[in-house]
C-alpha cells in the first residue's frame, strides 16, 4: 500500500498540489484522473521521487520515502516498476537488453537465468520471439508492452503507470489496460495509473481519485463515478458525446 499524507508541492508561486492525502490500495488498480494541468503527473513524479515535496509524507508500506537515505531510497526504487507515457525504452539497446537491464544492474543472476526471466516477461505481455528487435522497429502498442515487461522484470511491489494508453488505438489501449489489471491481481501489487482516458477508467478503475485544481475532490470506484453528483467531476467525465449518452442511459 502507498499512503500519501498532507502533500504540498509548488513550482515558484504556482501551488500545484494543495495538501493531498490518499491511500493507494494493494491488489487494486488505483487510478488518478483529472484534466491536463490538474497536478496528476506531478503527483506521480513525486511518488517516484522525481520531484521533491514541500511538505507531507509518502509511505511505501510504512516506509517514509522522503526520510530515507540515498542508499535505502535506491533499494526501495528497485521495488517500483514504472511505465512511462512514451515508454522510455533505451534506444541503444534491443528489446531483450532493455528488459534484462535491471536484472544485470541489480542482481547476480546467471545469463541463463536472466534470459529465462526476460522470456517469461515477454510471454506475459504477448511478445514472444521479439527479443532481438530494435526499439525503432516497435509499434506504439509494442513499446508499451515492452515497457510493462521491463517494469515487472524485477517482480516489483509497486507499479506506477503514467498514461499507459496515450497515443494508442482503442483496441490496443484496452489490451494494455487489461494487462496492467491482470498483473496487479496476479502479483498482488499496488498499482497506480495516471490517466485521463475514460475508457480506461471504465475498464480497470477499481479505486479512483479525481484531482482538480491541486486537490483530490472526489474518490470512489467506477460505479460510484457514474452516479456522482460532483459537478466538476461530471464535467470532466461526461465531456464527450459518448459519455453524455451513457449518462442518459
Amino acid at each position: 500500500m502507498i499512503e500519501i499524507e498532507n502533500i504540498k508541492k509548488s513550482f515558484g508561486n504556482n501551488e500545484v498540489l494543495k495538501n493531498i492525502s490518499y491511500n493507494f490500495q494493494r491488489g487494486k488498480t488505483n487510478l488518478i484522473i483529472g484534466e491536463s494541468g490538474s497536478g496528476k503527473t506531478t503527483l506521480l513524479r513525486i511518488l517516484i521521487g522525481l520531484h521533491k515535496i514541500d511538505s507531507g509524507k509518502i509511505l511505501y508500506d510504512g516506509r517514509d520515502f522522503t526520510k530515507l537515505q540515498i542508499k535505502d531510497k535506491r533499494k526501495l526504487r528497485q521495488e517500483i516498476g514504472v511505465l512511462f507515457q512514451r515508454g522510455a525504452l533505451y534506444d541503444f539497446m534491443n528489446v531483450e537488453e532493455n528488459i534484462m537491464f535491471p536484472l544485470t544492474m541489480f542482481t547476480n543472476k546467471s545469463a541463463e537465468e536472466k534470459l529465462f526471466r526476460v522470456n517469461d516477461c515477454l510471454k506475459r505481455v504477448n511478445l514472444e520471439n521479439c527479443n532481438k528487435l530494435l526499439i525503432s522497429e516497435l509499434s506504439g502498442g509494442m513499446i508499451k508492452r515492452v515497457s510493462i515487461a521491463r517494469a515487472i522484470v524485477m517482480n516489483p511491489k509497486y507499479l506506477l503507470c503514467d498514461e499507459p494508453n496515450s497515443g494508442l488505438d482503442p483496441k490496443t489501449a484496452i489490451i494494455i489496460d487489461n494487462l496492467i489489471k491482470e498483473i496487479t491481481i496476479e502479483s498482488n501489487i499496488t498499482t497506480i495509473v495516471n490517466t485521463h482516458d475514460m475508457n480506461s477508467v471504465m475498464e480497470i478503475g477499481q479505486n479512483i481519485a479525481y484531482i482538480n485544481n491541486g486537490l483530490i475532490s472526489w474518490s470512489g470506484n467506477k460505479e460510484e463515478l457514474l452516479e456522482s453528483d460532483n459537478e466538476q467531476l461530471n464535467n470532466f467525465v461526461f465531456a464527450s458525446e459518448l459519455f453524455k449518452r451513457l449518462k442518459k442511459i
Binding site: 531510497k73 526504487r77 512511462f84 522510455a88 533505451y90 544492474m105
Partner: protein
Amino acid sequence: MKYILLHIGQYFIMIRKVFSLPEKNKIFFKQFNLELEKTGLNSIGIVTIISFFIGAVVSIQTAFNFESPIYPKYLIGYATRESLILEFCPTMIALILAGKVGSNIASEIGSMRVTEQIDALEIMGVNSASFLILPKIIATVLFFPILIILSISIGLLGGWLGCQTTGITTADFLYGIKYEFNSFYVTYCLVKITVFAFIISSVSSYFGYYTKGGALDVGRSSTKAVVYSSIIVLIFNFLLTDLLLA
C-alpha cells in the same frame, strides 16, 4: 553573473555525481567500449583528413614566407613541425572535435532526457550521471591523445607533400622536422589535449543532461555545448600555454 554561477554550480554538482564508483564494472566496460568507438574510432577519418590538409597548407605557407635565400630550406620542416605540435593539432583538432563529438554527446544525452530515459534510469536506482557520462569522459580523455599523435603524424605527412609543390627536397624537410626537437613540446601538446578532452566531454554532457523541453531544446543544447566547450577550450589553451611555456 548569477546565471553563470548557477551553471558553474550545477556543473560541479553533476561532476560529483559522475565520479562515483560504477555500480557494475561489467556494464561500465561495455559502455566504455561503445564510447571508445563512438567518440574515438569514429573520429579518426575527419582527424586524418583535416590534419593532412593543415600540414600541407602550413608547409606551403611557410615556404612562401621563407623565400629569401638567407633562410635555410630545412626551416620549413622545422616550422611545420612546431606549428603542428604546439598549436594546430591540439587546439584546432580539439575545436573540430568539440563540434563533432560535443554535439553528438549533448544531443544523445539531451534526447535521452526529453524522452524520459534518464528518469527511467534514476527510478530504477541507477546513478544516471555516472552510468551515461563517466564512460564518455574516460573514453575521450584516453583516446583524444592518441588521435592527436595520429594527427601530428598525418600533418607532417601532409607537410612533406606540400613541400613537394614548393621545390623543397625531402632531405631538407626531414632534416627540419628533426632539427632542435624538444620532447617537452609533445608533453605540452598531450597535456593540452587531455584537458580539452575532459572539457569537451564534460561540458557537452552537462548541456545534454540538463536539457528541458522537446526536440528543439535538444538542438539548442547541442549548439550551446559546441559554443561553450569551444570557448572554454580556447580559455584553457591560453592558461595552459601561459603555465607550461611562458
